[in-house]
């Protein structure tokens, strides 16, 4: 069988507000092949898919379908061209049946739009057989299915639409091992049936199992492309970490040595903490004056542990010790009163108050501190405080009254950072403190973080950015699939070791 390059991307460029997410990416996608797209968070994978599915239009470059240039106007157009995507977080109609989720907008209908459910069932039956799904599934409401099953339903939807290219965006990050195996065999069969598959992952151990071709994406560029049998886990790991490792070694001065017994006297200790949905038996010891990096991939449970410490989630087991005393904050307000701070990862959804002025955003977690007689706020000190942190953290805005959403992403993030850094905490957990901002601001925030540690705060930096974790941390805890899998300090903090632990390298071989 001659393999056709059915879909081809040529020199795709895409920038967001000056940040170049894709710097000229080439990709050939053949029918009957599984193409693995490998890369760290932020490497540009998501942007690439959005362009392929018509959700974004590239700034430059061309998309060829069957050798002809084709500008994908919108998602509908991409669908019509036979491109379908299965996202991690399924886009569904929760209260409607599985059958309707599959056919919504393209129902089989008779006169007057009478919906022919029997015909739709018949049409979907071969697909169900192919996916080994029972037919009884069709009449269940979508919301009653687990995310894994919802994903399968969306695959069925793609198949019913006769998609020739199915893109899987980190599908296994929400699946159990058994579910993942099942998904792999399904993907294998789809491929054998002549469809093109693009499979995006950062789980290294999956690659040999599923990929016919591997493309490694680093910082918006293709840094390696291999055919079957041309790669091993080690070469891929080196590719992902290697370039970084050289960069990092150049940039970082020697790691600070931490006293060997520092972790024996932590300010905050999380002991055997478990949560029924997110993590198991997690132990973190966070000494004061030291920056502890938490590295782990999406779904590793790192943010959820932090949210539990912060009183937002309720752990199901284990305990949290602050200065040696057990604490169980019932809500974030209580955690803050105890001296625990948390900078959330999602700036827009969990952080800023978009339509409110900068001063409101800067002081939101310590308003009580400005209350005087009768609960009236002392605005002079509130604005003084806002101006102080603005100056201290170099936030560029016209005034404290400027609406925060009008600032640049970097300044918004510095604002959120200042909200937490501007108040004395015993423990400060920073979740993705520099996500999506420019390099200069990143370095600035890293300096601020070191200053905090110098003041004796137990600082935690949660990050998916390997370079960030390695350069800013004094020690690193690595998490994977809801568990702590490694803990390194000093000379042990090499990119290979940290990334390898996080990816579970060597596990697939074992």
């Amino acid at each position: 069988m001659r393999l056709m390059t059915a879909f081809e991307l040529k020199n795709i460029v895409k920038s967001f507000g000056g940040v170049r997410a894709l710097k000229g990416v080439d990709l050939q996608i053949e029918s009957g092949r599984t193409h693995v797209l490998l890369g760290e968070n932020g490497a540009g994978k998501s942007t690439l898919i959005k362009i392929l599915t018509g959700a974004l239009t590239p700034d430059d470059g061309t998309i060829l379908i069957d050798g002809e240039a084709c500008a994908l106007r919108n998602p509908e157009h991409a669908q019509a061209m036979g491109i379908a995507a299965v996202y991690q977080e399924p886009l569904i109609y929760p209260h409607l049946s599985v059958l309707e989720n599959i056919f919504m907008g393209r129902e089989i209908a008779g006169p007057l739009g009478y919906v022919r459910r029997d015909a739709m069932r018949a049409a979907v039956r071969p697909v169900l057989t192919e996916l080994e799904l029972p037919e009884t599934l069709l009449s269940r409401p979508m919301s009653s299915l687990s995310l894994g099953y919802q994903q399968l339903v969306l695959i069925a939807k793609a198949l019913v639409q006769n998609a020739r290219l199915i893109i899987f965006d980190e599908p296994t990050s929400i699946l159990s091992r058994a579910e993942s195996q099942r998904l792999f065999s399904i993907i294998g069969r789809l491929r054998d049936g002549g469809r093109a598959i693009v499979y995006i992952t950062h789980r290294l151990e999956e690659v040999p199992q599923i990929g016919d071709r591997v493309t490694v994406l680093t910082d918006g560029q293709v840094t390696g492309a291999y055919g079957a049998g041309e790669f091993s886990e080690t070469t891929l790991l080196e590719l992902m970490a290697g370039k970084k490792s050289r960069e990092i070694e150049k940039e970082i001065e020697a790691h600070r040595d931490i006293a060997a017994d520092a972790v024996e006297h932590p300010v905050l200790a999380v002991e055997n903490l478990s949560h029924e949905s997110y993590f198991d038996d997690v132990t973190w010891r966070l000494p004061g004056g030291i920056i502890t990096g938490i590295y782990g991939l999406v779904g590793s449970g790192r943010s959820e542990v932090a949210l539990s410490v912060f009183g937002f989630l309720k752990p199901s087991g284990g305990r949290i010790l602050l200065d040696g005393r057990p604490v169980a904050p019932a809500d974030p307000a209580e955690a803050i009163a105890l001296g625990i701070g948390y900078l959330p990862e999602d700036r827009k959804l969990q952080g800023i108050f978009a339509t409110k002025p900068l001063e409101s955003n800067l002081t939101s977690n310590r308003l009580g501190g400005f209350a005087r007689t009768l609960g009236l706020l002392d605005f002079k000190s509130l604005f003084d405080d806002a101006r102080r942190v603005m100056a201290r953290y170099n936030i560029k805005a016209q005034s404290t009254r400027t609406m925060i959403s009008t600032l640049s992403g970097g300044n918004q993030q510095k604002g959120l950072f200042a909200r937490w850094a501007g108040k004395p905490f015993k423990v400060l957990i920073l979740d993705e403190p520099t996500r999506g901002i420019d390099v200069r601001t990143k370095d600035e925030i890293h300096d601020f973080i070191r200053d905090l540690a110098a003041q004796g705060v137990a600082v935690v930096v949660i990050s998916s950015d390997l370079k960030e974790v390695l350069s800013v941390s004094d020690r690193i805890i690595v998490m994977r699939e809801g568990r702590v899998v490694d803990e390194v300090a000093g000379d042990g903090m090499t990119p290979e070791r940290v990334l390898g632990s996080a990816l579970g390298a060597g596990k697939a071989a074992a």
């Binding site: 890369g39 968070n41 932020g42 490497a43 540009g44 994978k45 998501s46 942007t47 690439l48 898919i49 991690q88 977080e89 965006d169 980190e170 990050s173 995006i200 950062h202 999406v298 943010s303 912060f310 937002f312 809500d331 974030p332 307000a333 955690a335 803050i336 009163a337 948390y342 959330p344 990862e345 999602d346 827009k348 959804l349 969990q350 952080g351 800023i352 108050f353 978009a354 339509t355 409110k356 002025p357 001063e359 409101s360 939101s364 977690n365 308003l367 009580g368 400005f370 209350a371 009768l374 609960g375 009236l376 706020l377 605005f379 509130l382 604005f383 909200r419 998916s464």
Partner: protein, 339 residues
Amino acid sequence: MGATGFQPGRIVLLVALTALALIGFASGDPGILSGANLYSMAVFAVEIGIIAFGQTLVICGGDGGIDLSVGAIAALAQVLMGLALQAGIFWPASVLIAVVAGIVMGAVNGVLVTRFRIEPIITTLATMFVFDGLALVLTGGINIDLTTMPQTFLDLGQGSALGLPFQLLCVYLPAFLILIALQHRTHFGRSLYLVGTNTLSARLTGIRVDRLRAWTYVIAGLLSGLAGAIGAARLGTASPTADEQANLISIAIVVLGGSSIFGGDGSVVGTAVATVLIGVVNYGLSYNDFNPIYQAGVMGIILIAAVLIENLASGRNWAAMPFFSRRGPTAIPRKESSG
């Protein structure tokens, strides 16, 4: 200073409209600008104005916050007060009963919304039926005559102080000042804006969202009870069917005053100015012998026009926002995006 949700543009617009309305009416009959007429205008606007203050806070809390039961609270509170007065209870204690009853009813709303997580519009629709029904049950549907009560009590709605209506000078304005302070100058008010703007961010910044929201219903209840008491004193009668339309009118005033129906914006100042506009239009129409119902109609036109104009000006897409839904960006933290 810290007037976060204060909207100067809207307030200027409303003041201009008010002036325009006054000029319009005065050109028809200059007599409307007489002191006596302005006095009457104020008397009529006070009660709904007080109720609208409470509604402002509830709506400001966001996430579908709305109180349809304010009119029913006012009715039940004034009925309870009327019964107390009939039973010979000292009048200040009776007024206190109205206010406390309002607080309790507001607390019921607050608990149902924040503890039982029943959507505000359903909760307050149901409690509206309940409170209204109880008011009717307690009175047998008959108004309680209060004209024989002590004049000091009736002065609550009929008296005057320093040449102004007593309830305007001694209830409305103090309430207004306190609420301005509460909304713009206290921990509570500032936090409420943040809650209405982004519930999840607010929770993660250490604000006790549910507690705050529950309080807004309590305050709305208190103010409605107070308005009920004043209304009964003004008319010399406690009626179980008083303030039937107060829920809709108060919401209209609040939105007209610049509050976003989705929360997090607007101010009692805007509400007060909108109340003045409505008061002027109402009185002007009835002064010119129009049936009072035209007042409501004109208010409806102003309400829709105000929002339409704002939409056209800002290009903001309301249609994309789910109505009163708990989904949407503030409900659940989304998963990390990758790549």
